[in-house]
Symmetry: C2
Subunit: 325 residues, 2 copies
C-alpha cells in the first residue's frame, strides 16, 4: 500500500514536471513563443552567461491592449461615463456641460468630441470626491455587472489568455511582474490582483491627486480632481524609476505609448527583451495599429526589427485569445 502510493506520487511528480509541462499552451509554436522561452531560460539558468539574479528579474506590462482589450475605447472611460450617469441620477445638477451630458447619456462620440479637456472633465467628475477605498469598491462592483459593448463578455474576461500564461510563467521563474499603465493606478488595482495575480504594490499608473484627511474621525485617502502623474510615453520610464528603482529586463506593450519604456529597458546591460503585441486579429479581437485612435502603433512597428523587439502577431501567434474557452 505504502509502496503503491510512493509509485503514484513519483508518476505524478514526473507528469507535473516543469521540464515537460508547456508553460505557454495558448501560444502557437511560432517564433515569439520560442523567443520568450529562450529568453527566460537564458536569464534563469545559473550556468548561462546571461544569468540574472531573481532580485533583478523585473518584468513590466502595459495594461490596455497588452493584457486586456482596449477597443472600442479604454474600458476605464466606459466606466467613467457610466459612473457619471449613475451620479446624475441622484443629482442631475452635476451635468454642467455638454460633455458631461453626453457622458451621462452614454454617447461616446459626443463625449469624446471635446478632446483632451473633455476627457479630463469626465475623469475629474467620475474619479474624485470619494475615498480610494470607495472608488475601488465602485470599480469592482461595475466589473461585476458591466458587459463589453461588442463582445458582451464581462470585462474581467476581456483579458488575453496567452498573456495571463506569460505572467504566470514569469512568476514561476522568479520574475517580479508589474503593470505600467497609462490608465489610473487605483482603477487598475481594483482588479489586477484577482485577474492578473499582480498585487497593488506592483501596479504603476496615471494618478489623480490624492489627499490625506481625517473625516468624522476616520483617517482617509481622498481622491481629488486634477492629475498628479501621467504614466504614458516618457512618463512610463519615470514611473518605473519612481516605483521600482530598477530597470526592467522584460517589457511588453502594444502602442507607441510604450515606446519609451521599451527603449529604456532594452538599452540596459545584459539580456533584455522587448515585446510588442500587434493587433492583427479582426476575427477574434481587433486589427489596428498606425491609424487607431486608441493604441496607436507606428514607430514601434517601424523600429522593432532593428531594435530586436519581438512583435507578436495576434492572429498568427496566439492559439486562443480569451480566457475560459
Amino acid at each position: 500500500m505504502i509502496f503503491a502510493r510512493f509509485l503514484l506520487a513519483g508518476a505524478m511528480a514526473i507528469a507535473g514536471s516543469p521540464l515537460l509541462a508547456d508553460p505557454l499552451p495558448s501560444w502557437n509554436d511560432t517564433d515569439p513563443k520560442a523567443a520568450l522561452l529562450t529568453f527566460v531560460e537564458s536569464v534563469t539558468d545559473p550556468a548561462s552567461p546571461e544569468y540574472v539574479t531573481p532580485a533583478d528579474r523585473v518584468a513590466v506590462f502595459d495594461n490596455d491592449g497588452t493584457l486586456w482589450a482596449e477597443q472600442p475605447v479604454y474600458f476605464q472611460f466606459l466606466y467613467a461615463m457610466e459612473r457619471i450617469g449613475e451620479l446624475a441620477e441622484s443629482d442631475p445638477s452635476i451635468l454642467t456641460s455638454d460633455t458631461l451630458k453626453a457622458a451621462a447619456e452614454g454617447n461616446l462620440e459626443a463625449a469624446l468630441s471635446g478632446g483632451e479637456a473633455a476627457l479630463l472633465e469626465i475623469v475629474n467628475v467620475s474619479h474624485s470626491g470619494l475615498s480610494v477605498d470607495e472608488f475601488q469598491d465602485n470599480v469592482a462592483g461595475w466589473l461585476d455587472t458591466a458587459r463589453h459593448p461588442v463582445t458582451g463578455r464581462p470585462y474581467r474576461q476581456m483579458t488575453y489568455q496567452p498573456m495571463l500564461e506569460l505572467l504566470s510563467y514569469l512568476r514561476d521563474e522568479e520574475f517580479e511582474t508589474y503593470i505600467v499603465s497609462g490608465g489610473g493606478i487605483h482603477f487598475v488595482r481594483a482588479f489586477a490582483e484577482e485577474v492578473y495575480g499582480i498585487p497593488p504594490e506592483n501596479v504603476i499608473g496615471s494618478a489623480g491627486k490624492t489627499r490625506y484627511a481625517v473625516i468624522d474621525d476616520v483617517p482617509t485617502i481622498l481622491k481629488d480632481a486634477g492629475l498628479a502623474f501621467i504614466d504614458d510615453k516618457e512618463g512610463k520610464p519615470v514611473g518605473i524609476d519612481t516605483h521600482i528603482g530598477k530597470r526592467p529586463i522584460l517589457v511588453a506593450g502594444n502602442s507607441d505609448g510604450d515606446f519609451a519604456m521599451l527603449e529604456w529597458a532594452t538599452a540596459g546591460k545584459g539580456a533584455r527583451l522587448g515585446v510588442i503585441v500587434h493587433h492583427t486579429d479582426a476575427a477574434r479581437e481587433w486589427a489596428y495599429d498606425r491609424n487607431s485612435h486608441v493604441g496607436q502603433l507606428a514607430r514601434g512597428l517601424d523600429e522593432a526589427p532593428a531594435r530586436g523587439w519581438l512583435v507578436v502577431d495576434m492572429a498568427q501567434d496566439w492559439k486562443s485569445v480569451w480566457p475560459g474557452r
Copy 2:
C-alpha cells in the same frame, strides 16, 4: 559516519531554531520588546484571531531618526553641502548666492539661515543636472568616505542596531518592510539595500522632478530641479497609498512628521502597531523631542498613550544603539 552527520545536523537545527533564538538581542527586556514580540506572534500565528496573511504584513519605517540618526542635521543635507563644495571646485561660478557660498564652505548655520527657500536652493543645485544612476553612485561614494561630524563614524554605521534587528525579525516573519522617508527617494535607495536589506522598490521618499531623455543615444532618467513630491506629514499616507496601495499594519517613526501615517495605519481594522522612537539618550545618541529643529516630536508624545502607540525610550529600552559594538 552518516549517522553522526545526521545527529550533528539535528543538533544544529535545534541551536538555530527560531523558538530558542532571541530575534531582538539589542533590546532590553522592557515593555516595548515584549509588545513587539507579542504583536508579531499574534499576526503570524494561524490559530490567532488576529492572524494576518503574509501578503498584508506590511511594515513601514521612517528613516531619519528612526533607522539612523538625524543630528546635528539630516545627513542628506550634509551630503548636499559637500556636493556643492565639490561642484564649486571645478566651477566656482555656480555659487550665485550667499546660501550656496555658505553651503560650499560647510557653514551649516549660515546655509540654513535662509529657511525653506535656502534649503530648496541647496537641494536643487546639489541634486539635479545628472542622471539617477550618476547621483546614486555619487551618494554611495560619499558614504564610503564621509564621517559624521560628531561621532566620527561612517554614516552607514550611524544606524540603530535594535532597529536593524527589528527589520530582520519582521522579514523572517514574512513581513514586507518599507522605508517611508521625508528624505529623497534616490538618496535613500543609494544605501537602503546594503544597510537595511530594503530593496529600491520598497523605498518611498520625497522626490525631485525627473525626466526621461535619450542623450547621445543613451536612454537616461535625469534629475531636474524642483520638487515632484514631499513625503512628509500628510504626504506619508499619500506616498504609501501611491506606492503600496495597502494600509500598513506596523508603522515606526520618531517625529510628528510621522504622525499622519501612524494615525492612518493604526486606524485600520484588526491588529495594528504604532511605534515611536523617543530620543532620550544624550549619553549614547542624542536627547531631543518637543523643541528640536529636526525630528520635532510633540503631538506624538501627547497622544501616544491614548492611541496605544508604543513609545520606545532609547536610553531605557535599547541595550546597545550602534551596530558593531
